[in-house]
């Protein structure tokens, strides 16, 4: 990884390194800084556990499918923790780590994959939008939302508690969609307070990044007239620092930024995918050496910032979380058949009400038969 453009603050071996433009922990005491890193570590371990449990639940038939984030924990926790409460996030379908940072009970993430809802949390409460499955569509929503923030007068007021930025997630594959490129154009044209956060995990299902771009992705932004940077997406410190800077850039009225978090999809695309058909296990092995959690653990323990008790406590917490998910998932109630007629419209038209009523009568006719 001798990429001179890659912003890194923590090496795969767990060594802190300097970067001319970005630093981690500025303005914090040593203890505050250590707390922050320990928090990241905890977030990443718990996020990985969510992923492992959900994968297992899918194997046991409790979920229809699951989109794994294995390997992308640092990219997501770094980005998620860089947010301020007032910021708003538009995720893809894989942002379980960011959801965690936004305080969403991971059980709510399972609903969509189990098929009991299309997204069960309230985006207005968590400032975390529903998962969007149509690739790239949400980057336009993020840009429009950011234009709304501008119109609310919440950009560049010099009040960091109010100034608001928007974080738009997408993948390397998504960068090829018209919508994503249009979102760059709108964001640049209106100087909207949005950060385009691309997790380049090297793969769009079976297609390698080279199919989507023949130059490093972060350079895409240059063609649209705003800054792009590539950060080591397996380095939580660097991802945090770079995303925070980009969000501040946005909230202070300096416009959009493109952050490419260079990472790797360690697992399959989803639980229904079989990556052995299209990629070499060598690659996967090579990336294992850059595990995002291992390097933080190495850093913390080697520097005496965490001991075995700390690690054990988090492991116990993860076990509890796993139990919560296992029990909770099976208990997620199926929606009532008639609920499909709810919320199609804010104001239900008569013709749909009639369709619901006649379906209700039809269902009741069976109850009679059953009795």
């Amino acid at each position: 990884m001798a990429d001179p453009d890659l912003i890194q603050l923590l090496t795969p071996e767990g060594e802190r390194v300097e970067h001319p433009d970005y630093s981690f922990g500025e303005g914090l005491t040593a203890e505050e800084e250590a707390d922050l890193v320990r928090g990241f570590y905890r977030d990443m371990v718990l996020t990985r556990r969510i992923d492992t449990e959900a994968t297992a639940l899918q194997r046991h038939g409790e979920l229809g499918i699951w989109a794994q984030l294995l390997g992308q924990e640092a990219a997501q926790i770094g980005a998620g923790r860089a947010l301020r409460p007032q910021d708003f996030v538009f995720p893809t379908y894989r942002e379980h780590g960011v959801a965690w940072c936004r305080g969403i009970d991971p059980l709510q993430l399972l609903g969509l994959f189990r098929g009991v809802d299309h997204g069960g949390w309230d985006p207005r409460e968590s400032n975390f939008h529903l998962y969007t499955i149509v690739i790239g569509a949400q980057t336009l929503h993020a840009t429009g939302y950011a234009m709304g923030v501008q119109r609310d007068g919440l950009v560049g007021t010099d009040d960091p508690e109010r100034d608001t930025a928007v974080l738009a997630h997408f993948g390397d594959g998504a960068s090829s969609q018209g919508d994503v490129n249009e979102s760059f154009i709108f964001a640049a044209s209106y100087n909207a307070p949005v950060v385009f956060f691309c997790q380049n995990n090297q793969w769009a299902i079976s297609e390698p990044i080279e199919r989507q771009s023949r130059i490093p992705l972060y350079q895409r932004a240059l063609g649209f007239g705003f800054p792009g940077m590539r950060v080591d997406g397996n380095d939580v410190l660097a991802t945090y620092a770079v995303t925070k800077a980009a969000l501040d850039h946005a909230r202070t009225g300096q416009g959009p930024t493109f952050v490419e978090a260079y990472t790797y999809r360690m697992g399959a695309h989803t639980t229904t995918d079989d990556p052995t058909r299209y990629r070499l296990s060598d690659d996967v092995e090579r990336w294992k050496l850059r595990d995002p959690i291992a390097r933080v653990e190495a850093y913390l323990t080697r520097n005496g910032l965490a001991d075995a008790d700390f690690v054990d406590a988090i492991r116990a917490e993860a076990d509890d979380l796993g139990a919560h998910l296992r029990a909770g998932c099976k208990a997620l109630p199926d929606p009532a058949p008639l609920s499909v007629f709810d919320h199609v419209y804010a104001d239900l038209p008569d013709e749909l009400r009639e369709q619901r009523d006649s379906y209700a009568a039809y269902l009741e006719s069976f109850e009679g038969v059953g009795a």
Partner: protein
């Protein structure tokens, strides 16, 4: 109450202005809607009076327009977007069908989508390809969208305001051929009827003729001509294409026993199909003849020198009336 004589274009402009005055969350966005006031001048003067933040000239990208409007709606705004011509709505089709239409359902009602997508639609203006399309059936087939069309200035003024006030996304189809065709008396102090309601615009007893948008005028003229031949047509302006307000339609057909549905859109899988199916199902024993359909042929829109041949006109409506009477 004092009334003013206005064209449809002017009435829509007044309606948009009123909606913007009434609610600061209402935004307009589209290509050329600002300084130019839109290629049809429907937004004329609005940017000057409400500023560039509320009347937004957009980059030339329809998916971008609708997609960012979704984001603005999520932030609490009520975006009204203009698609320059009917044939250019398709780059935005994905955002409309997968995002605008489904956001309320997806979020269990937590994220309503109060958005209006204004589309000048239909033919008859001598334009080149893609400028004369009638895409309503595609949107009406999509649950989560409401689709309406105004046929006259007075409806234009009220319906655009009602569409903006609706918490559901509304595809608002403006018969561009009518923009400057006629003037009508508009009384802005009147109380409008509901948005999603059809309306009998001419009473008659022999055949029920259904229309919306640009075909209403054609059908009224056909009814006039038919009256001269002793045939009494009842003309209903559907106004709402989805949902359909079937009450007045069924009441009428039960009386006349005969119905003709008209639209500029292609006949195959056009609104006529749905109306024929519903009417037949609900008035089976009243029908003296099958419901007949008059629409654009199942061909692409033709070069404009023969568009008047292609478009259903007074004669084609009368021909269907004769056929349904003779059945």
């Amino acid at each position: 109450m004092s009334t003013t004589k206005v064209t449809l274009a002017k009435a829509l402009n007044m309606g948009l202005r009123k909606a913007m005055e009434d609610d600061p969350k209402v935004l307009l966005m589209g290509e050329d809607v600002g300084k130019l006031g839109g290629v049809f001048r429907i937004t004329d003067g609005l940017q000057k009076d409400f500023g560039e933040d509320r009347v937004i000239d957009s980059p030339l990208a329809e998916s971008g327009i609708v997609g960012t409007a979704v984001g603005m709606a999520l932030r609490g705004y009520r975006p009204v977007v203009e698609i320059q011509f009917d044939g250019f709505v398709y780059p935005a089709y994905d955002q409309i069908v997968c995002q605008v239409a489904k956001m309320s359902f997806r979020s269990q009602g937590r994220l309503p989508m109060p958005m209006v997508i204004r589309i000048p639609f239909g033919g008859g203006i001598g334009a080149v390809e893609h400028h004369s399309e009638s895409p309503e059936a595609q949107f009406a087939h999509t649950p989560g969208l409401k689709v309406v069309s105004c046929s006259n200035p007075v409806d234009g003024y009220w319906m655009i305001q009602q569409a903006i006030a609706s918490d559901d996304p509304v595809i608002f189809l403006e018969p561009k051929r009518q923009y400057h065709a006629d003037k009508a008396d508009l009384d802005v102090t009147a109380t409008p009827g509901p948005l999603f309601a059809s309306r009998v615009v001419r009473h008659g007893g022999d055949v029920t003729v259904l229309a919306y948008g640009p075909m209403v005028k054609t059908c009224l003229r056909a009814a006039e001509a038919a009256a001269g031949e002793g045939k009494s047509l009842e003309v209903i302006d559907l106004r709402s294409v989805s949902p359909l307000d079937m009450g007045p339609v069924l009441e009428s057909v039960r009386r006349t026993g005969r119905a003709v549905v008209t639209h500029e859109a292609h006949v195959n899988l056009g609104l006529g199909a749905e109306l024929a199916a519903r009417i037949t199902e609900q008035c089976f024993y009243s029908l003296e003849a099958p419901v007949l359909r008059v629409g654009g042929f199942d061909t692409p829109y033709p070069p404009s020198r023969i568009e008047e041949e292609w478009l259903p006109d007074l004669d084609r409506v009368l021909d269907a009336v004769d056929r349904v009477l003779e059945f």
